[in-house]
């Protein structure tokens, strides 16, 4: 289904859509307060962007540096060209260790690669340990947000889900009670797990280590008990220096959830004694994005989710309306870069308001990329035929002033005289909930010409009062309550 159809579905439950919008706006406001508390906020964004752009311009060098330093610390580094390669590599490591049960903290990369079903098909149990991810896993859904995976679910629904799966009291919906139940349920899983998988927020080339950020502590619990830790990362997660982390850790949580920093920012620089630590470096299309001047800046993304929280469309259409691993503005670039046919409606699920660009902590020019992506969709002949044809027609009309004048006259006259049912027909998407403008008797250019002519004959240099007739004529016809 296309975004408009799914968005329409989501908004049809207006109360829920409004609740969803408010929940995310609440997070956006927390972000604003946090950002206001840092006087050098805009400088941090500049630095973050510059660090990322620099890293991308020398990515092969930094990857090699990371690999060398990681190996020196006893970290085993793997390379995966595709999602499938990634899954196979992870599976082989797990298999070699005889793993049956895996606990996994939040990792957009493993979502992107669909690691869970891959491992489950091969007989392994994979438990997502982030509370939000566990909720959607139990409900057999995809996350609807990259930082707040269960933001679309009401507490009553979580209560029902936990009643069914975790045996909580029927009808219970208190978040404290439900979280406590999840804590106990997941503790058991942590203790029984044979391996822990995490994502990576930042990897550091100069040290060969990496950082994982969580609030719940689930990543750390997941990898501090079993003997095997596998960390999966996209190749764009690299930073040159440890000191760069200061910039990014200051920005990440403030942008994501409006916290000064996540509760745990764990730095891994080697395996525990007698244990193994693996890092899987995944390309899966990133090298192609890097080759595209229009979209390479999307690789700056640190997955904070701020663009989702601020996007007026995302907030009202819900994450699932995007049908992608990463939804919202950044997802509307990442998905069609890879599969334009499948996601051609996403760059248009946007008013080009630019709020995403302004919240982005790494200064990705999101709305300009979305605009550029529309051009790519057109160039690939993926625009709906009706849209392309009408744009061709409108362009032809607007390119010829006489034709524009004629067509404009025709539009105004037909709008004026056509009966209401003919104008507000089911095909008129504008008119379902909105009135069309009331056609005036003359265009601006006619009024202006008239005025200049009148003035010439009157030989008066002072501002003629004709201008006001235009604005007066509208008062009665265009203001509220006249429909």
């Amino acid at each position: 289904m296309s975004h408009p159809a799914l968005a329409q579905q989501f908004t049809s439950d207006r109360t829920r859509a409004e609740w969803h919008d408010r929940s995310l706006w609440f997070v956006r406001e927390k972000r604003d307060r946090m950002a206001h508390g840092v006087p050098e906020w805009e400088l941090l964004r500049e630095h973050a962007s510059a660090i990322k752009l620099h890293t991308m311009s020398q990515l092969p060098h930094y990857l090699e540096q990371f690999e060398k330093n990681a190996a020196a610390r006893g970290i085993i580094v793997h390379w995966a060209e595709t999602a499938d390669d990634h899954n196979r590599i992870v599976y082989e490591i797990l298999q070699r260790h005889g793993v049956r049960r895996v606990v996994k903290s939040k990792s957009m990369l493993t979502e992107e690669c669909h690691l869970n079903p891959f491992l489950e098909k091969r007989g392994m149990e994979v438990v997502d340990t982030d509370l939000g991810e566990r909720i959607v896993q139990l409900r057999q859904e995809a996350p609807s947000h990259i930082v707040l995976p269960a933001i679309h679910i009401r507490k009553e629904e979580v209560g029902e889900c936990f009643h069914e799966h975790l045996g909580t009291e029927k009808g219970a919906s208190d978040p404290n009670y439900l979280t406590e139940a999840a804590r106990n349920h997941l503790r058991e899983r942590f203790c029984k797990a044979d391996a822990g998988i995490t994502g990576v927020n930042f990897a550091i080339a100069e040290t060969g280590g990496f950082v994982v950020c969580t609030n719940e502590g689930n990543a750390d619990l997941g990898v501090s008990l079993p003997k095997l830790h596998i960390a999966c990362m996209g190749i764009e997660k690299l930073l040159p220096r440890a000191s760069d982390l200061a910039v990014f850790l200051r920005l990440l949580a403030r942008s994501a959830t409006g916290q000064p920093i996540t509760t745990y920012s764990s730095h891994f620089h080697g395996p525990r004694e007698g244990c193994e630590l693996h890092v899987v470096l995944v390309d899966n299309g990133r090298s192609s994005i890097l080759q595209s001047p229009d979209f390479r800046r999307s690789l700056n993304c640190i997955r904070c989710g701020a663009c989702m929280n601020t996007c007026p469309v995302y907030r009202r259409s819900g994450g699932h309306s995007y049908e992608t691993t990463v939804p919202g503005p950044i997802g509307s670039i990442l998905a069609p870069v890879r599969e334009p046919e499948k996601h051609s409606s996403l760059p248009f699920a946007c008013t080009l308001c630019g709020s995403c660009t302004d919240v982005c902590p790494v200064k990705i020019d999101l709305h300009h990329q979305l605009l550029a992506m529309r051009g790519h969709i057109d160039a690939k002949h993926l625009l709906p035929v009706s849209k392309k044809l009408s744009m061709k027609l409108v362009s032809a009309v607007l390119s010829r002033t006489w034709l524009y004048n004629t067509m404009g006259w025709l539009a105004r006259v037909s709008l004026k005289w056509a009966p209401r049912f003919a104008v507000y027909n089911p095909l008129n998407g504008w008119g379902r909930q909105r009135e069309l403008p009331i056609p005036p008797s003359a265009t601006f250019r006619q009024m202006f010409a008239q005025r200049r002519a009148g003035r010439k004959s009157a030989e008066s240099g002072a501002a003629a009062p004709v201008a006001r007739e235009g604005s007066k004529s509208r008062e009665g016809s265009q203001t509220g309550g006249q429909a």
Binding site: Y404, S471, A483
Partner: protein, 248 residues
């Protein structure tokens, strides 16, 4: 100073009074504008639909029509932003004419404050005005501070309107959220578009707005469409109309 007026196509056709008010305001401040008759549209509808080949002739037409003026003034932040920020790809790198026209194309409030240096306006508008921050004026032209960015800026539109006697402003809960117009978005994503518009209107209603204004008639066309359908008692005016009504 040779100043040309650019009136967006839909304003020409459906909101001539906005164009006339712009003329009146400019003349009030001593600027005699010309209206080059050959003008039509900046090409934004096509460009925002991804149809670059269809937008290209309009960009060229725009430059042809408006080259030779010291300034091109338009009562629309959105069209100005199209010309200034998105014309690059339609012209050869280093093209002097297009660069000149693009640089000299200005939104009305910007022209009044930055070029004419208007500081005081004598006039009265005793109404509670709700300002809708049109996105392209806000986040492309930076005519005011957006709530996302931590650098403070003057709010050109509000500063101008503040000069009017008796005017008061609504305090909104979301100061600069998009109205949901978005060009073809308004129809393609009708459900979300209208919900966004309704939310803006509800915010203005709660804040006591009696006159809703903005720098872009496109946002107002969408909001006015909802307001009229719902028979709400909010008057919708482009800020040029407010200025012209207040000072003339």
């Amino acid at each position: 100073m040779k100043v040309a007026l650019f009136v967006p196509c839909y304003v020409d056709q459906f909101y001539p009074q906005v164009g006339m008010s712009t003329v009146a305001v400019l003349e009030h401040f001593g600027v005699q504008v010309e209206f080059p008759e050959a003008q039509t549209c900046c090409g934004q509808p096509m460009a925002n639909s991804g149809c670059m080949p269809e937008a290209r002739p309009l960009a060229h037409k725009f430059i042809d029509v408006f080259d030779g003026y010291d300034y091109v003034v338009a009562p629309s932040g959105s069209c100005v932003s199209m010309v200034r920020h998105h014309y690059e790809e339609f012209f050869e790198h280093g093209d002097v004419r297009s660069a000149r026209v693009r640089r000299n194309t200005m939104e009305l409030s910007e022209f009044l404050t930055k070029v004419l240096g208007v500081k005081t306006i004598f006039g009265s508008f005793p109404h509670r005005v709700g300002i809708h921050q049109s996105c392209h004026g806000l986040r492309e032209l930076r005519l005011s501070s957006s709530s996302e960015v931590m650098t403070g800026r003057d709010d050109l539109l509000k500063d101008l309107l503040s000069q009017l006697e008796g005017i008061s402003f609504s305090k909104l809960s979301r100061n600069d959220e998009c109205c949901g117009f978005g060009g073809t978005f308004a129809v393609a994503e009708e459900a979300v578009s209208c919900m966004m518009g309704d939310d803006r209107i509800a915010d203005h209603k709660a804040a006591g707005t009696t006159v809703l204004t903005a720098g872009d008639m496109s946002c107002l066309m969408h909001l006015d469409g909802l307001i009229r359908r719902q028979k709400l008692n909010i008057r919708v005016m482009h800020f040029a109309e407010i200025l012209s009504e207040a000072i003339c």
